[in-house]
């Protein structure tokens, strides 16, 4: 971690806003540890993935061991230990989406991006995942890009969706990402 990227008072890996959010979060529960899962997800949203440094800081903030943090984090499918693309495309292929062409949509994303399940594009803009039911069954096939839903898709929608995010990636290449990913990893930034 480069020192100039940490907030000076706390030497925290997280932005002052996120650090303040964590401070408020641990106050909300009878037990501090209840903040663990939200904390990991919010940290991942900012940093991109659960790096060694993220795990260490979350463990320290909650007051449990890094091993315990890893033990919990490895259970939840949204938490990851490796960087994903700036826009993580999650395609549901579960039954309701499958019946209406979810696999065809997923295949089209694979073709357009040239990557498979859990792959990341060379430019780091996109990653792709085949995911379980995302709760959009009546509007399937459905996908999520980071947290954004896209409903009632056909393979023909895929290039347009990708072009939209490519455009956004261009606009926000200064790092002022409004959601999800931010290039503040400790020297392992795949997009630098």
């Amino acid at each position: 971690m480069s020192p100039e990227k940490a907030s000076p008072e706390t030497m925290s890996l997280f932005s002052p806003k996120l650090a303040a959010r964590f401070d408020a979060l641990v106050q909300k529960y009878p037990l501090k540890r209840s903040a663990l899962i939200p904390m990991l997800l919010y940290a991942q949203d900012e940093i991109g993935y659960l790096s060694e440094a993220v795990i260490a800081e979350v463990a320290q903030r909650i007051g449990i061991s890094e091993l315990e943090v890893r033990d919990v984090a490895s259970y939840y499918s949204m938490l990851r230990f490796k960087p994903a693309g700036k826009y993580n495309v999650q395609v549901c292929t579960n039954i309701s989406c499958m019946l209406r062409g979810g696999y065809e949509v997923y295949e089209r994303f694979q073709e357009e991006l040239g990557i498979g399940h859990k792959g990341v594009t060379a430019d780091g803009i996109f990653s792709l995942e085949e995911v379980e039911c995302i709760g959009a069954c009546c509007w399937g096939p459905a996908i999520q890009v980071n947290y954004e839903f896209h409903d009632e898709l056909s393979p023909g929608h895929v290039p347009g969706i990708l072009a939209g995010y490519r455009g956004k990636a261009g606009v926000l290449s200064d790092g002022s990402s409004s959601m999800g990913w931010k290039a503040r990893t400790e020297g392992t930034d795949p997009h630098a």
Partner: protein, 436 residues
């Protein structure tokens, strides 16, 4: 943005404020919001529980346990703090009703949580949303903040001397966390592994305190029950099944969507009239009546089937979570069974051996079978594996994987046999199933 649908047969109770901007607190108040909570505050816990019992409202998560009875199990004299926990971890494939509730009527969830809290004497309620529902969590968080600003939540709710706090929580991707004890584990910052019962959550739950856990739809229904009166609510449904239900009709229908229909509504009518029939003029092959864990039904079995917990149970399946998945005659049931079991294999927490190993073997067998490498013995083996999972796990996930599998094998044995001896899938459009 998820589309809202409408049909003349709908009885809009829970969905009555949908599409009316009720996520804004002032609009919610204009539409009669928070009156039910005020009434409950005046009437007290015994009255609330009596009303809930009389309403015949049954848990909308899937098990159909009577809500009033569940609340009455919480011991009055207990030194530990009591909690209300709202299960918005909606993850059962085919189910997307809570999605619409959080989006369109977040204050109904808050109001229902308050009423549950008043009924059992809890001072804190937790509303847990699955991690994928981030935009809905933000809507809920805004609604909670607005309710605090108005003094509806906090140390003195509606100016009374009663305290009630609400905390929202995000998950991070785990179907198993929808099981009530795994949900409590997750909220305590742990892996979502189910707890051994008894003790039941009503006695020893969250942080060791007595806890009532209700599905988000159940909770969102509560203010309406109070508002319209238990008797009127009960009369809307069928015998012992009060009110309406949000049925999520998906798959091969012309008009998929979430429809609010009275309990006991005929399933055939639901598919052919409400949802506009089978897409492209095809024929119905099968229907999964209540989310992917419920055994499949054949067209002949739905002729006179009323959709309530008791009638669907009698028909050999379950009303479950209200996810009606409609399958047309161009679908390969083996592929469908494989996709279903792949999900449970992926989501099994791995604690109980019959579930961990069973789902894995079922997935392996079905993958091989669907690829044309099955042998006749496999069909019996798949059935044998599923039968041996039934009732042998700590939580219902094992059963949830075994029950639909048994249904597919028993009701579509011929289709399994058609895949034998290296024959390709009999359906022209072969679905290549990727391994998750």
């Amino acid at each position: 943005m998820p589309r809202l649908v409408s049909h003349p047969d709908e009885v809009k109770i829970v969905t009555s404020r949908f599409g009316k901007g009720a996520a804004a607190i002032d609009r919610y108040l204009e539409l009669g919001g928070y009156e039910a909570a005020k009434k409950c505050l005046a009437q007290g816990p015994d009255w609330i529980i009596a009303e809930m019992k009389a309403s015949n409202l049954r848990g909308r998560g899937g098990a159909g346990f009577p809500t009033g009875l569940k609340w009455s199990f919480v011991p009055k004299q207990n030194p530990r703090p009591k909690y209300v926990l709202v299960n918005g971890d909606e993850s059962e494939p085919g189910t997307c009703k809570d999605h619409l509730i959080f989006l369109n009527d977040p204050h109904a969830v808050i109001e229902g949580t308050m009423i549950a809290g008043l009924a059992i004497g809890a001072k804190v309620g937790f509303i847990y949303l699955r991690g994928e529902y981030r935009y809905l969590l933000e809507i809920m968080e805004k609604a909670v903040a607005d309710a605090y600003a108005k003094g509806f939540l906090g140390k003195n709710i509606f100016g009374s001397d009663i305290e009630f706090q609400i905390v929202t929580q995000t998950g991070a991707g785990a179907y198993e966390v929808g099981e009530e004890s795994a949900l409590m584990e997750s909220l305590e910052g742990k892996r979502g592994i189910p707890r051994i019962k008894p003790p039941f959550p009503a006695v020893v739950g969250l942080y060791g305190g007595p806890t009532v856990i209700n599905n988000a739809e159940t909770i969102a229904t509560v203010p309406h029950v109070i508002e319209m009166g238990a008797a009127a609510y009960a009369a809307t449904g069928s015998e012992r099944n009060g009110g309406t239900r949000l049925f999520c009709i998906s798959g091969h229908v012309e008009k998929p969507g979430v429809y609010e229909l009275p309990m006991g509504y005929n399933l055939k009518k639901m598919i052919y009239e409400v949802a506009g029939g089978i897409r492209g003029g095809r024929k119905l092959k099968a229907v999964v009546p209540g989310g992917s864990s419920t055994p499949v039904l054949l067209p002949a079995e739905i002729e006179n089937l009323g959709m309530d917990f008791d009638q669907v149970g009698k028909a050999g399946s379950m009303l479950g979570s209200g996810g009606v998945v409609v399958i047309d005659d161009q679908t390969c049931i083996v592929a469908f069974a494989l996709r279903t079991i792949s999900f449970y294999q992926h989501e099994s927490c791995g604690w109980c051996i019959p579930c961990r190993e069973g789902t894995d073997w079922l997935k392996k067998s079905l993958t091989r079978f669907h690829a044309g490498f099955g042998v006749a013995k496999d069909i019996d083996n798949i059935q044998y594996l599923a039968e041996n999972m039934m009732g042998r796990t700590f939580c219902p996930l094992g059963d949830a994987a075994a029950m639909p599998t048994l249904g597919f094998v028993k009701k579509f044995r011929k289709e399994f046999e058609d895949h034998l001896n290296g024959k390709p899938c009999p359906f022209a459009k072969h679905v290549e199933l990727a391994v998750i």
